[in-house]
Symmetry: C2
Subunit: 361 residues, 2 copies
């Protein structure tokens, strides 16, 4: 028998059917669907999902806005749950442990980036938690809008039971996406840091940067966000629509953490950096954005990007958040509310992350 | 008497007339002109200029292409000469010393950047060598296309007599502009570094990076430059017009040093950087250039700028070049050839820097 076919049949036999919410096409709402999860192999951890956060990427994928979505697709990469089964080779976890899964569930494990704990930049392409090809190229991953998931132990994170788990789930994407660049570029006590955009990423950026001792300024176009920004830990709030305020902030920040995915002008912000200042982009506007060479050259400024974080750093972030009592501000929804939650996310009507309670599946 | 008027009259009395080449208007060629230099004050060094390099900035200023040129203007900020007189408070230099002057001749000396030896980023605005207001705001500086210049000792550099002085002059701008970012971002032996553009800056970038042990690739649109690039120290030469070659270079460089001032697309280059790679721009295209967020985010890449170097680092660069026998490739011209040299510079017809022999003034 053809080894490939044999493998497929073996897989079919080793599969468990679990409940999920899936999009069947770009123009279809998400709806209940049954998917297959593999039986845990030697290195696998089977997780009963308790909560899954709703990230903007989920919407892009469900609606095929980035292209390449394979239907049916099950989004979700901010996963918190309990271990229900482990393979014989699993040493990191035992049944009953509280665990998390973030944006990717596998990588090549041998390229220089994987060896440097930077699996997010795996040179051979990591396997994202949903809509990605498995490392053995035999199936497409299905994400956290489901009752269970099976993940190889290296990509499973330990989650403290100290914090409310529904508020921990978004740390697996929004938390690490903002924590990693703050650490990588060495944000420290006393640094002046501006956060652009107060959404799922932005609210974590404010909390985390403030917890590290940075003096945080929220830059926003919405006057209504001032009170929230202060409550999250921002010392200052400035409207980017106020030209005088923008001029007065010239050359005043060590860092700008730009969380906005909508089209916007980087040049408005680059000049706000001090000499040697760093502007970090974690949101990806769909179209290229013009930048002038002058603010770079005249102040040795940097424009940099950052993508989530590696597994080691994600664990460090979870431990840090448990120690410093940092969680996401969430609105818990039932699975049936997911389509409405997508619309409200797109309208910016969420403070600051929807999280699905998987008990409602 | 009004103190300001008194000061002006005093200045007039303390002036020496010296020969120069000046532009009288944006649309006029440079021509012989007599200018005034102050008598050396206590901290001043009077320098007889032997050679002055011709930088593209000189042309922009002479022709008012950046706006703000005050006529008559005397360009020139790649100055090498001999000390002819020093003020009573000068300890760094004595008559007969070989010295250099670069892109700026004064700064506030007390802002945090000046105190950190980053006078090039003086927060109160440094005084550039030509077409800039003096720190006391009483006159506009006139540059190195002249027989003498008087500069406060802090901004005067020691030049070794080991190297041919006409080839040292361009180090004061083209040399330090490329040396400083290589040092600041820590380019080291074994790093893979691409240089974009082979002109005055680019040829110094290749020499300096190669001297530091980097494996240099020259990226160019001109097949004719391959031989020169190799002679300067580039190990590889790739045509940016060759799409296959560009694809093959994806994620392969630790650094890109982009010396091109003409309009070009940064996106073509950003993806050539490895994870954590840094693209350094030292040329300033006149218009903003669109950049996509994806290469930044997907590889934690950086786009950064750099402006010449501080006085301390410029001295370090001159000492380094003397030690490693690094100079600029120059074509020495007489002062009367300056207008022709401008045209040839604009046409890219120079290998790689024109230098005026001031004995011809």
């Amino acid at each position: 028998m053809c080894p490939f076919l044999k493998q497929q049949i073996k897989q079919k036999h080793d599969m468990t059917l679990v409940k999920a919410y899936a999009a069947q096409a770009a123009d279809k709402p998400l709806a209940p669907f049954t998917i297959e999860r593999r039986q845990p192999g030697s290195d696998d951890v089977e997780i009963k999902i308790l909560y899954c956060g709703v990230c903007h990427s989920d919407i892009h994928t469900a609606r095929n806005e980035w292209g390449g979505t394979i239907y049916p697709t099950v989004p979700g990469h901010e996963i918190v749950g309990k271990v229900t089964s482990v393979g014989a080779g699993v040493s990191k976890f035992k049944v009953g442990d509280t665990v998390g899964v973030g944006c990717f569930v596998d990588s090549c494990m041998h390229c220089s980036n994987c060896e440097a704990d930077l699996e997010q930049y795996c040179e051979n392409g990591n396997t994202q938690t949903y809509n990605a090809l498995s490392q053995d190229k035999t199936y497409t991953t299905l994400g956290g809008y489901s009752s269970h998931i099976v993940v190889t132990q290296h990509f499973v994170l330990s989650v403290s039971d100290k914090l409310p788990l529904e508020k921990v789930a978004p740390l697996l994407c929004a938390g690490i996406t903002t924590y990693s660049p703050l650490r990588h570029w060495g944000v420290k006590a006393g640094d002046k840091l501006a956060v652009v955009g107060l959404g799922g990423l932005g609210h974590m950026a404010v909390k985390l940067a403030a917890s590290m001792g940075a003096e945080v300024t929220m830059l926003s176009r919405s006057p209504g966000k001032e009170k929230d920004a202060a409550a999250l830990g921002a010392k200052h709030f400035k409207l980017t629509t106020n030209k005088d305020a923008m001029v007065a902030m010239a050359s005043s920040f060590d860092f700008i953490l730009d969380t906005v995915s909508a089209q916007h002008d980087y040049n408005e912000y680059l000049g706000l950096l001090k000499t040697n200042g760093v502007m970090i982009i974690v949101g990806a506007p769909p179209q290229p954005t013009p930048v002038s060479a002058f603010p770079f050259i005249m102040g040795r400024r940097s424009l940099v990007g950052s993508l989530v974080g590696g597994i080691k750093e994600t664990q460090e972030m979870l431990d840090y958040c448990a120690e410093h009592n940092i969680t996401s501000d969430v609105e818990v929804i039932s699975a049936a509310q997911i389509n409405e939650a997508y619309e409200r996310t797109l309208a910016g009507d969420v403070h600051y992350r929807f999280v699905i309670d998987m008990a409602t599946l």
